[in-house]
């Protein structure tokens, strides 16, 4: 649909959209729509989206489920988590509707996990305090678009001094019998000293054109520890836009790991704001592309206060006609002295048609800092290949070994043992160009 169609859509159906959503979400809707009307869809003529043409993706005539018609599938019947032995608490968002899994019990006392609308109804104070606090400030066309149309999402609250030992797993599934668009808004709150791990898996079940635009707002309180894994394995017709916004308070510790195994067009906007001193953040990610896949990671780390540390590492392996984009910005504000910030981006182009755009960027307004960034794009080391070949390892196997080693910097950061093994296995089968298969769920059967 054209830009104007979305504008008309909202104008005609604003009442319906609002009636099926909570007042807390609705409070921001008109403002977001005004922004969207003013700035339009993300355009490649803007610096932020210069390498990703999302206009084409938005241009498809999608169906939007603004009437919140119930989806006639039970996700846990058709989709089983394919990480053996992970023992996670499992939740689903199908298109843009939240589903509670029946196994999701035994959560520590005080922890709330439910749909965002449900949360807004039951705990309005809590939701009102946090909802859109970051997204509102975020000047991005995708965010405005999402805030205009999103009606539901995933909500997680971990109270003070509470630890959830097992990872929480959120599975985003796109499914339907037509071209579908889904906008959802996730809200994750960790209070002081809380500890949690969230694994987000993005999948698309059928071969239709899908567009998912998701906002995930994360608030990490003092001394809290949070790990966020995003594992994407979607179809080639899927446009996946993920806006991950994280705000960290004093002495908090966050690990973010963004792994794109298979996709169509992916845009990850990752925005981390270090708001309290001595906060530490580690942001890493990798992408494997072939065919005509496009992977675009835009990251922004904002050092607003002194004495914080950030560490960023992104790796890309690009084959065939795939296109990778990395845009990494580190901002050190005026008073953020004693900041230590390191950013690395390493890329591998395996074919003559693969393209890599990288733009690591430092903006520094304080003087007592240690900041560095590095970016490389190249090929496998000939000497290392020769070493392996001379020991009787075939060229193909030697390449695979080296590529696996290349990705190890990212996979080794995963602290959940079962997940780490699984991801390594998935990476290997992906590099061997096999579709990762499991026997548990409907897609593979």
């Amino acid at each position: 649909m054209e830009e104007q169609s979305y504008i008309d859509l909202y104008k005609t159906h604003a009442e319906t959209i609002k009636s099926k959503s909570s007042d807390i979400l609705n409070a921001f809707r008109d403002e977001a729509f005004a922004d969207f009307e003013k700035n339009g869809l993300p355009s490649p003529t803007s610096e932020r989206y210069r390498y990703s043409d999302l206009k084409k993706s938005y241009g498809i005539n999608y169906g939007l489920n603004i009437n919140r018609l119930p989806i006639q599938i039970n996700p846990s019947d058709i989709f089983r988590c394919d990480v053996p032995g992970i023992k996670s608490h499992l939740f689903y968002v199908v298109n843009d509707s939240f589903f509670l899994d029946k196994n999701a019990e035994n959560l520590p006392k005080g922890v709330i996990i439910c749909g965002l609308n449900e949360a807004a109804e039951k705990y309005p104070e809590l939701v009102r305090k946090y909802y859109a606090k970051q997204a509102q400030k975020h000047n991005d066309p995708n965010v405005s678009f999402n805030m205009t149309f999103a009606q539901d999402g995933f909500f997680m609250y971990v109270p003070k001094n509470t630890e959830i030992a097992e990872p929480i797993q959120l599975i985003n599934i796109m499914s339907g019998n037509a071209d579908i668009m889904a906008n959802s808004h996730n809200l994750i709150i960790l209070e002081e000293n809380a500890k949690a791990k969230l694994l987000v898996c993005d999948h698309s079940l059928k071969d239709f054109n899908f567009l998912s635009n998701r906002i995930t707002e994360v608030f990490v309180g003092e001394n809290a520890t949070y790990e966020h894994y995003k594992l994407e394995s979607t179809g080639e017709k899927h446009t996946n836009i993920c806006n991950l916004l994280i705000e960290q308070q004093k002495s908090s510790n966050v690990l973010t790991n963004i792994i794109t195994l298979h996709n169509g067009l992916t845009r990850n906007n990752i925005d981390i704001c270090l708001m309290g001193e001595y906060a530490e953040t580690k942001l890493c990610g990798m992408a494997i592309g072939n065919g005509c896949q496009k992977i675009d990671n835009a990251t922004n780390i904002d050092h607003a206060v002194p004495n914080c540390t950030s560490n960023e590492l992104f790796k890309y392996i690009l084959d065939e006609k795939s296109k990778g984009t990395f845009f990494g910005r580190v901002l050190v504000r005026k008073d953020a002295q004693k900041t230590a910030s390191f950013q690395t981006n390493k890329n591998m182009c395996l074919s003559a048609d693969a393209t890599m755009y990288t733009k690591p960027q430092l903006e520094i307004y304080a003087d007592d800092v240690k900041c560095s960034h590095g970016a490389t794009t190249g090929q496998l080391d000939e000497n290392a290949l020769f070493y392996l070949r001379s020991r009787g390892i075939s060229e193909r196997e030697a390449q695979l070994l080296l590529l696996q080693a290349f990705t190890a910097d990212i996979t080794e950061n995963i602290t959940v043992g079962a997940l780490k093994d699984r991801v390594k296995m998935l990476v290997e089968s992906r590099l061997r160009n096999e579709q990762p298969k499991c026997t548990a769920c409907a897609i593979c059967k």
Binding site: K334, T376, T377
Partner: protein
């Protein structure tokens, strides 16, 4: 380290601020088609050049000033600028040169005669817009080298100028390039014929002299096959309160197996301590390398209130190579957004970028660079390094590198660091009886050495001096 030392160290004032009274021929302010025609007529230009200017002017009218740079540019009223100023007296020999002008050069510490005698350099001194004096021309003529002002080149070598003008920087390239193409006043023209190695360093001193006069220099350097030339450009400008615009274009064509080395020391008036006045320096510099050719840019940027400058290389021919070495110093309220573009088109092309930024006071210093590797540029190689040094806690240092890689056999690397002078380094010097001021001077000079070393001898000395003046107080 005590606060006041950094302050003392960074508050050095511009030493070359003075105005010399030379009668200039200024046309009224404003820009329209008639002004373009008038400039062309005053310079007695042929029809084709006038058409070139008019086309550029037509295009310029359609453009908007670029806003993407990390700069805060006050709105420029292009109708308030006078687009042509020429010294009234025409001179034929050294004796006829206005004594005022010679004095000006003397104050700068670069007496024309001394320079000719001592360094054996040919100096094409540009006072405002028209070349006043060209030396050593005969000497160069013997070898077939053409080194003259741009307007002379238009008169005597129209075929060469017509062939190469706008071939690297087309008039539609960007806002300031279009403006320059429409109203450019004068500049230098260099042609080195096939197989000739230019025996001396060619040098030009630019100097802004008349109030409210934008300088629109146009430099064209052509090195024919297997030729070599080292070209130096340096500038200092008198103190002014009103902002002055400088929008130059430098085009360099390096033919097969040739080599060009282009060095600049830029010291336009940066404005006073409170950020008043200063030159706006919006320059387009670009070179094209044919097969096996080499182009090397070296720049020391200490002046200008605002710098917007990206000397670039198009590596068109196979096996060609390019280098970019830069030191950019900003102090007080100066702003600089500078860097380079390396466009790899040919096979086995190589490029090397070293950029050193130093920010002090309340200045903002940005590196912005592009390394583009086209699909057919197999086995091309780039290495970029950009470091920033921060003196004081109110300044900023930024890096905006772009890397677009379109094939599998190229290797591109980029590294950047930002830091302040470490307390340990200063302590180490203090311990050995070196005062903190001297230590900072020592460290800054050492930091920039890698680039200063790439400058020709004569320039290296001046550059080092400028570095100290810019950051000054009492650097040893």
């Amino acid at each position: 380290m005590p606060e006041n030392i950094i302050e003392d160290f960074t508050k050095g004032e511009y030493k070359y601020g003075f105005t010399s009274d030379i009668e200039t021929d200024i046309i009224p302010t404003g820009l329209n088609e008639d002004v373009v025609r008038l400039i062309s007529a005053k310079k007695e230009e042929p029809e084709w050049l006038l058409n070139f200017r008019l086309k550029a002017f037509e295009h310029w009218k359609k453009l908007e000033p670029p806003t993407w740079a990390h700069l805060d540019i006050p709105e420029i009223d292009f109708q308030k600028i006078s687009y042509f100023a020429a010294p009234k007296k025409k001179v034929k020999s050294m004796d006829e040169v206005d004594p005022e002008l010679i004095k000006t050069f003397n104050k700068l510490g670069i007496p024309l005669e001394e320079q000719m005698a001592l360094s054996g350099m040919a100096v094409d001194a540009v006072m405002d817009s028209v070349s006043v004096k060209t030396t050593f021309k005969e000497n160069l003529m013997e070898k077939g080298i053409i080194f003259c002002s741009f307007s002379e080149a238009v008169k005597h070598h129209p075929d060469l100028v017509q062939k190469y003008l706008g071939s690297v920087v087309p008039y539609a390239d960007n806002y300031y390039a279009a403006l320059n193409s429409a109203v450019f006043s004068d500049g230098s023209f260099v042609y080195i014929p096939k197989g000739v190695r230019c025996p001396m360093e060619l040098s030009t001193y630019f100097r802004i002299n008349a109030e409210n006069t934008g300088q629109f220099e146009r430099t064209l350097i052509v090195a024919d096959e297997e030729a070599y030339v080292s070209y130096l450009e340096g500038c200092t400008a008198p103190q002014r309160d009103e902002n002055q615009l400088h929008a130059a274009i430098v085009e360099i064509i390096v033919h097969d197996n040739a080599e060009v080395k282009y060095s600049t020391v830029q010291n336009w008036y940066p404005g006073d301590k409170n950020g008043n006045g200063g030159i706006y320096n919006f320059v387009t510099k670009r070179g094209i390398c044919h097969e096996n050719a080499k182009l090397s840019w070296t720049q020391v940027e200490t002046g200008s209130a605002i710098t917007w400058k990206y000397p670039s290389c198009i590596l068109k021919g196979d096996n060609s190579s390019a280098e970019f070495y830069s030191v950019a110093v900003t102090n007080n309220y100066q702003q600089a957004d500078t860097g380079t573009k390396m466009i790899h088109l040919g096979k086995n092309t190589r490029s090397h970028i070293v950029s050193k930024g130093i920010s002090a006071g309340k200045s903002q210093n940005s590196y912005r660079g592009l390394v583009k590797v086209a699909k057919n540029a197999e086995n091309s190689r780039n290495y970029s390094q950009c470091d920033s040094l921060l003196l004081g806690d109110k300044c900023g240092a930024h890096t905006f590198p772009y890397m677009d890689i379109n094939n599998k056999s190229s290797v591109v690397e980029h590294e950047a660091t930002t830091s302040k002078i470490s307390e340990e380094q200063i302590f180490y010097c203090n311990q050995r009886g070196i005062s903190t001021e001297d230590a900072i001077g020592l460290i800054v000079n050492g930091y920039a050495k890698e680039v200063i070393n790439k400058l020709p001898m004569e320039f290296a000395v001046e550059a080092q001096k400028l570095l100290q003046v810019s950051l000054e107080g009492s650097v040893g």
